[in-house]
Amino acid sequence: MNLRHMFALARKEFYHIVRDPGTFLLVTVGPVFLMIVFTYMLTSEVKNAPVGVIDHAHNDASAELIDRIEADPVTRIAAYYESVDATDLDFQRGDIVAAVEIPENYGQFSLLGDVPTVHMIVDGMEPTSAEQVLETVYTIADEHTRDLAGDALSGFGLDSSLLDLPINVETETLFNPDLRSIVDFYPGLMGMMLTLPALALALSLAKEAENGTLEQLVASPVDKRALLAGKMLPYLVFGMIDVVILFIMGQVAYSVPFRGSLLEYMLVALLFNMANLGLALLIAVFVRSQQVAIIVAFLVFFVPPFFLSGMFFPADAMPFIVQLEMVEFPSMHYVSLAKAIFLQGTSIRDLLFNFVILAILGIELFEIAAFIFRKKIIVTVPWRKWFNRDEKRQSLTQQPIAQSRG
């Protein structure tokens, strides 16, 4: 590879980046902005979910239960109904996400073991928050019933330890004691943010093709691998700067633990960055217009890594064939490596499989792009007609030759 060519291209690309405010923001502020958006989305917990009440009891016990539901930060009481049927419309509108029906004899225990319990109805449309609301209301109701039952037992002169759980469970959580989802998503998210420099690279190459500057380049003796590498280099540098910024942000703003070796993580991030940019080049080499590049990039960079890298949905739960497919996506390996290094302090040596694949992808994707890239002009440029039309208009004013026979 011709290094002088590469640096010439890299310098030129650097000028493009810093002189176009759009690109500059995309590769600098963009990742930070995106990270804030995502962490916001991920950490939003259910608060004040509206709950409806159908109270058939109207006694102290039911009033106490309603108070507890209202007092819990997750839920609030939004409306009262006479019957379960009456809740239908509000459920459809989304005005309530759960309803609690309290039976007439709520709070009245008999020695025969009759336990009046509540009936809860949950809108399951959005499973994640539905589960949260369900769990909250369920726990409140269950505990309240236990409390009432305990009182009742004491009233009957019995030992309330009868109500203890048969087995006591102690829970300990490693790596992420509070099970904060941000902690285990952050290392992966950092990688996702590197999509932005890659997107900018794909666009930049597509733009050269559209603007005709690529025609000038391919007609020059520039080494084609140097051409691609030179275009890629500045984005790689900006990508690594992003990594550093995001790393600091994670430590400071989100207190994400980091237990591994910083050097190893940076190496992983570098390889991932290279793989991402290689993929971007590949896209740009295949599709020559900015418009298509954007759509392809959205598809390739955004959706699969998001859903399939195990960030939101554990990869374990995925069909084997999907997992197999994911082997080809650098993001999967990055996520595994980054999470292990961040949270478990694992060394690359223990994750050699992922590391090797990531390294191969980091180099290979670029090589494939370079292999496919031809120093030829693009044969079908859809708007050539429009260009020509424009020029025709200009030349009409300057005595064209094609006019004749008055």
């Binding site: 002088r4 060519h5 640096f7 010439a8 310098r11 030129k12 000028y15 493009h16 002189r19 176009d20 603007n211 005709g212 500057t213 025609e215 000038q216 380049l217 391919v218 007609a219 020059s220 003796p221 520039v222 120093k375 030829k376 002009i377 044969v379 079908t380 260009f387 020509n388 020029e391 025709k392 200009q394 030349s395 300057q398 005595q399 064209p400 030759i401 094609a402 006019q403 004749s404 026979r405 008055g406």
Partner: protein, 318 residues
């Protein structure tokens, strides 16, 4: 192949899906020539030049540039040639100087060699005072000069220019051609495409391109000599009415309108002249002038188009 042949084009064709942009062209361009490829939009000029520049492969035939095959040895060709694409191929957000230095790096012109070359180019193109201008902010003519400067930065023996003067004002066009003449004088083989017939006159030889075919390839004077007959220039008060009538006269080959001037190409000067005078008389037009006019490339081209084999090309005939 003779040693003085720079470009040897052997029955080269190029098709894009249904379009046959270049249709088995055979041409030979000598070293040191200033060679024009002239034709209207869509004639296939750019396609032909791109194939010479080795950035587009022919679908048939071969091209050899200084003995290098344009498909197999594409990269050898690229270093001995300067190419200026039809659009502005430089970076609008880089300054004039940055564009030049970037191109120099790519062509391997560096260090002292470059520092010597830059002032020469600035002087040659008059761009010195615009050194730090963003290329995108230059006028059309300036842009073309910058593109030329970049194309010749490595002093290539071969220069391929695709419509370098399209979209440039007439004064700048003249200036640009003076630059080309200068390069020609230094011995650079130059191939220029252009839709302007008047520019063809400044070439050693021209190839008239139409619908992907070469209608004629010769020196401008030889091409004009192929057209039989002469040109008469008519101005009158009622050209609009006269034109179709004139075309109906036997011996009138073609008519071109320039404002209120009609250029009439005729087979035989004297006999047709008298027929025209008769016509003017019978149409009762008396405020006219009818003079001899020189044959121009334009007339020659249209004559050749109309008398080429095959169907009458619509674009010109309509």
């Amino acid at each position: 192949m003779a040693n003085d042949t720079m470009i040897d084009i052997q029955s080269v064709s190029r098709s894009f899906r249904q379009t046959l942009a270049v249709d088995s062209i055979t041409l030979s361009i000598r070293r040191g020539e200033l060679f024009g490829i002239v034709g209207p939009d869509g004639a296939g000029k750019s396609t032909l030049l791109r194939m010479m520049a080795a950035i587009l492969n022919p679908t048939g035939g071969t091209i050899a540039i200084a003995g290098h095959d344009s498909v197999k040895d594409a990269e050898d060709i690229k270093s001995i040639m300067g190419y200026m694409p039809q659009g502005f191929g430089l970076y609008t957000d880089l300054s004039v100087q940055e564009n030049l230095r970037f191109t120099a790096d790519v062509y391997g012109v560096t260090g002292a060699q470059l520092e010597k070359r830059l002032p020469v180019l600035y002087e040659f193109t008059d761009l010195a005072s615009f050194k730090d201008y963003q290329a995108g902010k230059l006028s059309g003519g300036m842009k073309k000069k910058l593109a030329l400067a970049c194309a010749i930065i490595h002093e290539p023996p071969l220069l391929l220019l695709d419509e370098p003067t399209t979209g440039v004002d007439p004064v700048a066009r003249r200036g640009f051609w003076d630059l080309l003449s200068g390069l020609h004088a230094q011995g650079t083989t130059t191939v220029v495409s252009t839709p302007y017939m008047d520019e063809a006159e400044r070439c050693n030889r021209v190839a008239l391109l139409y619908n992907g075919r070469v209608l004629a390839c010769d020196s401008p004077s030889a091409i004009k000599a192929r057209v039989p007959g002469a040109v008469l220039a008519l101005t009158s008060s009622d050209n609009r009415r006269l034109a179709p009538l004139l075309l109906g006269l036997s011996g009138v080959i073609d008519i071109q309108t320039y404002g209120n001037l009609l250029n009439i190409i005729v087979t035989d000067r004297d006999t047709v002249r008298s027929r025209i005078l008769d016509l003017l008389d019978s149409e009762q037009i008396d405020d006219y002038t009818l003079e001899d006019a020189p044959m121009r490339m334009e007339e020659a081209f249209i004559y050749l188009v109309n008398h080429a084999e095959g169907a009458l090309p619509e674009e010109v005939a309509s």
